[in-house]
Subunit: 621 residues, 2 copies
């Protein structure tokens, strides 16, 4: 299938060198996040990369709070939290015609009252460290990166939904063919896969703004070396300082502004960038003890019109969805708010569980179209924010502060919301936490072993949904719970779904590694592989015994929580105040977004059950 | 040197196969903790073990809060925190003549108001996991365990303080000789090294109490499977349940009580222990899906009279200092409160930094005698506690609860205090935190990069002391700070000590691993390798700039903290309320114990300086 609809469907009759379920092109953060999750879900994947080796320096530089949470949920955050630098604050410096360079303000980067993240900082480590964590996990589950392999083209297999993917082995220059169900291009801003998506072209602007980027160890008498610093100098443009791991600092140095004349690329050498930085930072002195990486880029603000083909077989994710950089630095948008790798990985994170469910026949293929709906909205929001952010950066502290405050939840990754579509239910009541938003962090006590846990991290990501029952008074609610649970068992639609899911994971098990043994995943799928049952209660531990509960909740003993740690507690934060005659119910998607959340009267158990069934319609056909 | 003083000092004239600074015998938790710390400090060490391989199952089972803190300070806690089980609560069950088995109470294991630990739980993982963490770190610094080597004897090298250590290579049966400055026996309850310490014999009791121990995955309808559970059955003795990693449970099953008749060892089989457990737990059913380890032991409560020889060349640590077990289980005392490995590792942790300073000539050899003073007191306290604890366990819940509450800080490892000796200074004022106690956990903000940190964990353990200045008002205290810091520079006694220490670490550098690069240790030794300077202030970040501070504090920019996170804050917790005209000063030992802590008037800078110098007298000779 060459670009354009007129070429669709031509035949292929060469030899098949391999066949798989998903071919992922590109082993950057986005491709690795996808392949790693697919490997965990037990989906066959071939991950191709045209480079001979891993990323070792530079490139993407910061993990936002939501990304840190995602890595924690995947149980992969430890080495990054241990070794990376953390930025908690931002300081503003400015020089004007009549005033030398001085600090004009300092503020917390992610204020709790605006963001409410459990990790309210940017975590800085070079992209290679982040990639290594994903590679190690993937390899421990038996999936390896196929390096030195370049994606060439793809075509549709006649009479089936499958694709033939043509690949060049760069070490032998041989062409190979892979038969696959899905193809995902995580192949960056110049994505080749994108050209096979009808109407996949980019729309938007390339600006004249250009920046130099420099990673290294700096010796300076500038006092704010270890804050994120936004500098606006009167004579030499803007500079952004970002602290990094191993004593390094990243400097973004403005070479030309969006409304100015674009700087000649030949001029934008490392020496030029250093000289410009020194000029902007005078009278402070800057000496580089080492320079680990240098790059430069022009800011583009473009988004692909489509992230997938109409048949939901070819997808793009990450940089492939956004503008083409002019330079070699690979930056597609301004990078000043450190969004790139974060949004890229969350594209993949969104796509992975959907491919898993659809491939297993546990969800209708229509689920896949929510990928483009949801992620293209985020990409568009990101570009709009980026345009405003760059403009604010030019205008100075007040504008930048306002732009930050207005967008801080979005920057943190927490404010990326999916408010419509088949995965976001309409509410019958009003709750503080809304469908389409991320789970709110909350501390609760696990009933079974009295461990205090973070509710948003506790249940492992196994490709399953989560059903949280908020029960203020267990004794009063036993009938409700019992009726509700019975409605999900045996021959009920949800009972059948669970049976089907359980069969599917027996037939094609999740990808495991010996370390998984410590996490005892069977604790979370005892009732269903489609849905983990959970209960959050305001009753105390002494007010009930396991044996009092309906069988489905007894079997879910590891996901019963006491809401006794914080004020306001989890119940209050998620569903709001509940009377003793009420129960709250939240359905959380496999990627941690709220699907449905509502309050029910104890008398309305039938409607509550029906509403849950309705949510899962796309899985019940 | 054979056992007993009469054999001391005989000559040796065979070939020397190796020479080193410290020979450690035994690669269990205690020996590994010692060798790992010595490797970090840059001290040459040979670690011998007579086993062919690592510990893979069973044995010591729980890390107490203080041990978790120690591993965090060593930056080695991550894999344990990730994979081990955590016990937060304890429940009590009892059956009597007329009442069947029932829960009689449940309580938090380490209540905050009694313990105040930052990790208020027991962390359960088999000893091999803990050992592996230490081995990996040690190996990354170039020190490996010499396996299959058995300690045979040692003798003094005439005319020098050194020792000849004779070792048998068990794979070849060849005898080898190692010349060493120090020998440390971490060779367990049946320690051979102990026999070379004059008057090193054990004193105390072996009781009739015997227990069976069983690790495995249990299927049961007993509801408290995931709490620590103390069961007292009417007909079948006592049982202690402890949850473990990978879904396992450890059961301690009482076979005979201290005042009963000791059970015949031949009878104490796995089947017998299982049958007895089932009887005690009836009517609940117990099925073992797997048994990973089985052992049994008799409770002894004995302590060696000496932990070192009078010349401070031969030491014992850990189980070697305590009673001989009768069985193969290796338990030396009751183990019911999970103290063994914890106390063992803290013996070594205490000894390691002292050996480092004395070997480098940075402290007088008299420092080594504080090892026995301090650790024998803890061992004696441990045995006394153990006697009471066993008695309380027999008496039932009320007695056990009281015994727990009385000793909970000691059990946690937090209450192990060193109140006398050359390392604990007399106070001139009264402060909440006292010399001899451990640093109190407190959250503060690092001034330089606005990161919130735990003060007790933030400064890496590099064998150095820490000097904390508590300054309520920086502007008002600048003269004091400046005068005090000047008194430590150049040709002052402490200035000379720092110079000597800096020279020592240039000549013989610390043992490093590539991962250390992320921790930038030079940040903590910029002023002195003997002492990290630190300041905790109630002034806000905007009230002072780095450039305002005296040079020693400017150079200590990574250890300036704002006391703005908690109420009560660090200042309040450590030195109590301070007036604006006062400054608090604490000296913290390399192992985290408070050496000296006092309050000073701003006018008393000379006395303050003198008191610091006095503390360090043992290093200034």
């Amino acid at each position: 299938m060459a670009p354009g609809a007129d070429h669709e469907g031509y035949g292929f009759d060469g030899p098949i060198d391999a066949s798989t379920t998903v071919v992922v092109v590109g082993a950057g953060p986005s491709g690795l996040m996808l392949a790693c999750n697919l490997a965990r879900f037990g989906i066959e994947v071939i991950l191709l990369d045209d480079r001979p080796d891993k990323t070792s320096t530079g490139k993407a530089d910061g993990m936002q709070p939501k990304t840190i949470e995602t890595f924690k949920q995947m149980r992969l955050a430890d080495p990054l939290l241990r070794n990376a630098a953390r930025v908690y604050d931002i300081s503003f410096w400015q020089s004007t015609a009549d005033k030398p360079l001085q600090r004009t303000g300092r503020q917390t980067h992610y204020p709790q009252h605006l963001v409410g993240a459990s990790d309210p900082y940017i975590l800085l480590a070079h992209q290679g460290m982040l990639e290594e964590v994903l590679i190690d996990d993937m390899e421990s589950r038996g999936v390896f990166v196929t390096r030195n392999h370049k994606f060439v083209s793809c075509s549709r297999v006649e009479g089936s939904g499958q694709l033939h993917v043509t690949v060049e082995d760069l070490s032998t220059n041989k062409i190979k063919t892979i038969r696959t169900d899905y193809l995902v291009g995580c192949d960056g801003a110049r994505s080749k896969v994108r050209t096979f998506i009808p109407n996949g072209e980019l729309e938007g602007e390339i600006t004249n703004a250009s920046w130099g980027v420099l990673d290294g160890v700096i010796e300076t008498n500038f006092p704010d070396l270890w804050s994120k610093v936004a500098v606006r100098s009167y004579t030499a443009g803007s500079i952004l300082w970002i602290p990094r791991e191993r004593g390094m600092t990243r400097l973004y140095v403005e070479l030309s502004s969006a409304d100015g004349e674009r700087v000649d690329r030949a001029k934008a050498t490392q020496e030029y960038v250093i000289a410009r930085a020194r000029e902007a930072m005078a009278p402070y002195t800057l000496e580089w003890k080492t320079v680990e990486w240098f790059g430069n880029y022009v800011v583009g603000q473009r988004v692909a019109k489509h992230f997938m083909d109409p048949d939901a077989r070819i997808f793009i994710a990450g940089d492939a969805c956004w503008p083409i950089p002019i330079s070699g630095a690979g930056h597609c948008h301004s990078a000043l708010a450190a969004q790139g790798a974060n949004t890229s990985m969350h594209d993949s994170f969104n796509l992975a569980w959907k491919l898993n469910l659809v491939h297993r026949g546990l969800a209708s293929p229509s689920l896949l179209s929510t990928y483009e709906e949801e992620r293209r909205k985020i990409a568009t929001d990101l570009i709009s924010f980026d345009v405003e952010h760059c403009a604010a950066f030019e205008k100075g502290e007040d504008a930048l502060t306002k732009n930050f405050d207005d967008n801080i939840r979005f920057i943190a990754g927490i404010g990326a919301e999916y408010t419509s579509g088949l995965l976001s239910a309409r509410q019958t009541t009003s709750t503080p936490l809304q469908p389409g938003a991320l789970q709110l962090p909350a501390k609760v006590t696990r009933y079974y072993d009295a461990n205090p846990v973070d509710i948003q991290l506790d249940i492992p990501l196994l490709g399953q949904f989560k059903l949280y029952l908020f029960v203020p008074d267990i004794k009063a609610s036993l009938n409700f719970l019992s009726t509700l649970c019975t409605g999900f068992s045996g021959s009920s639609p949800l009972g059948k779904l669970s049976y089907k899911a359980n069969q599917s994971y027996v037939k094609q098990s999740r990808g495991t590694t010996p370390g998984d043994d410590f996490f005892q995943f069977q604790r979370y799928t005892a009732v269903s592989n489609a849905l983990t049952f959970s209960m959050v209660t305001l009753s105390t531990r002494s007010e009930f015994e396991l044996a009092d509960l309906p069988p489905a909740l007894q079997a879910s003993r590891w996901t019963l929580y006491l809401d006794d740690v914080e004020t306001p507690g989890c119940t209050e934060k998620w569903v709001g105040g509940l009377g003793k005659e009420e129960v709250g119910i939240a359905i959380v998607r496999p990627d941690g977004y709220i699907g449905s959340i509502d309050k029910w009267d104890l008398t309305a158990v039938e409607q509550a059950g029906k509403s849950i069934e309705e949510y899962f319609l796309f899985m019940l056909q």
